[in-house]
Symmetry: C2
Subunit: 342 residues, 2 copies
């Protein structure tokens, strides 16, 4: 089956007997072209299935209808679900997305911003890498008036629209649930990277303790890489210190699985002796035994809200009136690992 | 901190006292420009940190140093690990990758190919969507001489370089292991989509039975969507039919978790009464109880091999001499769910 050659504006011009320049101006809604001609051109373009070259069009008009997304890694249900939310919203409006990973590497994040600008994307959405502490690479994006949205891992150092979840409230709620279940010596697993989401979760944890009249004990706050091995190490550390904890609220699902594995090794009963709660609602939290309580960050909604912000910005010619910060509520999912009172 | 304006070829021209046109031709290795001038321009360009606009350069020379990757979904450890393998290999050679998802939607795959061509990528790597049964959208890629590589979900209907794992041998090995463990009534979970990887796994399963002298019973082969719910339904179906199975080899990890959940509900002992093996080595297979045996598809290696094929092709000006098909060995990971003989 031979494929037809690419249809150009010359084909449309031939079809209706006008010049290619008239077709081009009509397609670009030029004021000099009459509404009647525009209508005729658009109908002919549709009839012969004309598809403008996106990048050529982008060079002329700055409209590639492409959105570039940068996430630390796609290998997390949370981030891939946000991307899905963005994509569903954008596709419905005839925009496509391209995804890049920074792998939490500052240099890679900087280079990816350059590559996206070169690719003439119409918008950029970023969840910052853990090691990103300087933001000069976003200056070029802002100077060019390209809509920029931060989600989840954000900074207040730039005036950029952002979508976050209420990490403080989620952590407060999770810790409060453990207190309600009768746990009193609650450890907290946090990242050694002092980025905002972890600081907010730590704040929610300590505030819940304070409101319950339980003194904050910093020895129960253990830092790690928040991966499986980090959770295992943090648990061994707590056990070796003999601190007598009876629950762990972890700012990461991976680290809480590590804790679960270590505790099961020494026959600690979950949730009777130690209660566990993770963070992110990764799919595997349902499959462990016992199933793990966790915080659902409503990633799809976060993606949709981020995309909606982008479309609001392009409706305003890319110039937001002021920084918009949307905070979404998260949702505590209570499963067996923290339920010892029925 | 104010960022410097973008450096252009005019800055280089000013710097060394030649015209912008000379700089441009020197940078593009034009034969009319003397080696001495070329050297001077390149040194000046390096000294003032000149970065050519990738897309503008791509329009002139077809070198964007961008590779477009299309996967059905990033939300699978297998695919995100392949992407990681491609990316590590490509980044080390100063190429960047952009990822798109087809969500197994044929139309979306077609549109994404268009978008990648418009974005002037230097190469395209694709794992085909489950619903892709027509391949005309790849004609334009092949006609333009843009290196194209298929991985994992491939077709032999096009002459395209491809990287696959030996699905037949992996399935044979998994089934053989169950037979060695004394299981004799082994069910197989497969996809209702008749794509090659599933057909090969089915073939490996039935060949292993045949070689062991056990008749193939098609009632034990159950089709589903291969998701968690599909595995649950297939298991209930087997139980309702009263077919007396004592093991399941599933072509998907998600479906085998569904089986595990259903069987545990009715107190079937794993692996004593029923042995289970999945496929893909998704991270959660380690976290279930018992941990699930599965097939490790060596996704990182698949990504690296795919990228290596691409770089071989560009070294050949994008024209491969003949179709290259690389088949990688997979690796059976034996965990508790299929180990009843110690």
């Amino acid at each position: 089956m031979k494929k037809k050659e690419k249809i150009t504006i010359h084909d449309i011009a031939m079809e209706i007997g006008v010049t290619a320049s008239t077709v081009s101006r009509a397609l670009n809604n030029h004021p000099r072209i009459s509404p009647a001609t525009k209508k005729m051109v658009l109908e002919a373009a549709k009839a012969i299935n004309y598809k403008p070259n996106r990048i050529a069009a982008a060079l002329r008009h700055g409209k590639s209808k492409l959105i570039g997304i940068i996430v630390p890694t796609i290998n997390r249900n949370f981030f891939s679900s946000i991307v899905r939310g963005i994509e569903e919203y954008a596709n419905a409006r005839d925009y496509k997305v391209m995804i890049s990973q920074s792998y939490d590497d500052y240099r890679k994040e900087v280079e990816t911003i350059d590559a996206l600008l070169d690719a003439r994307v119409d918008g950029i959405m970023v969840s910052l890498g853990k090691n990103t502490h300087s933001y000069a690479h976003f200056d070029a994006v802002l100077q060019k008036g390209i809509p920029l949205v931060f989600f989840d891992r954000t900074t207040d150092e730039l005036t950029v629209n952002q979508v976050v979840i209420d990490d403080f409230a989620s952590a407060y709620q999770a810790t409060h649930h453990l207190l309600d279940q009768g746990y009193r010596h609650i450890a907290h697993f946090t990242s050694h990277m002092k980025i905002k989401i972890y600081l907010e979760r730590l704040r929610g944890y300590s505030q819940a303790l304070r409101d319950y009249g339980i003194p904050f004990d910093e020895r129960l706050v253990v830092e790690s890489n928040m991966q499986l091995d980090g959770g295992q190490e943090s648990t061994r550390f707590l056990l070796e210190q003999g601190l007598g904890f009876d629950a762990i609220f972890s700012a990461s699902d991976y680290a809480i699985v590590g804790a679960l594995q270590e505790l099961k090794k020494i026959q600690v009963k979950i949730p009777q002796e130690v209660g566990l709660i993770g963070f992110s609602n990764e799919p595997f939290t349902e499959f462990t035994e016992p199933a793990l309580s966790t915080v659902d960050q409503k990633a799809i909604a976060m993606g949709q809200t981020s995309a909606a912000l982008f479309f609001e910005m392009i409706a305003d010619d890319g110039k937001p009136k002021a920084m918009v910060k949307k905070t979404l509520d998260a949702n505590l999912i209570i499963r067996s690992s923290s339920s010892r009172i029925s």
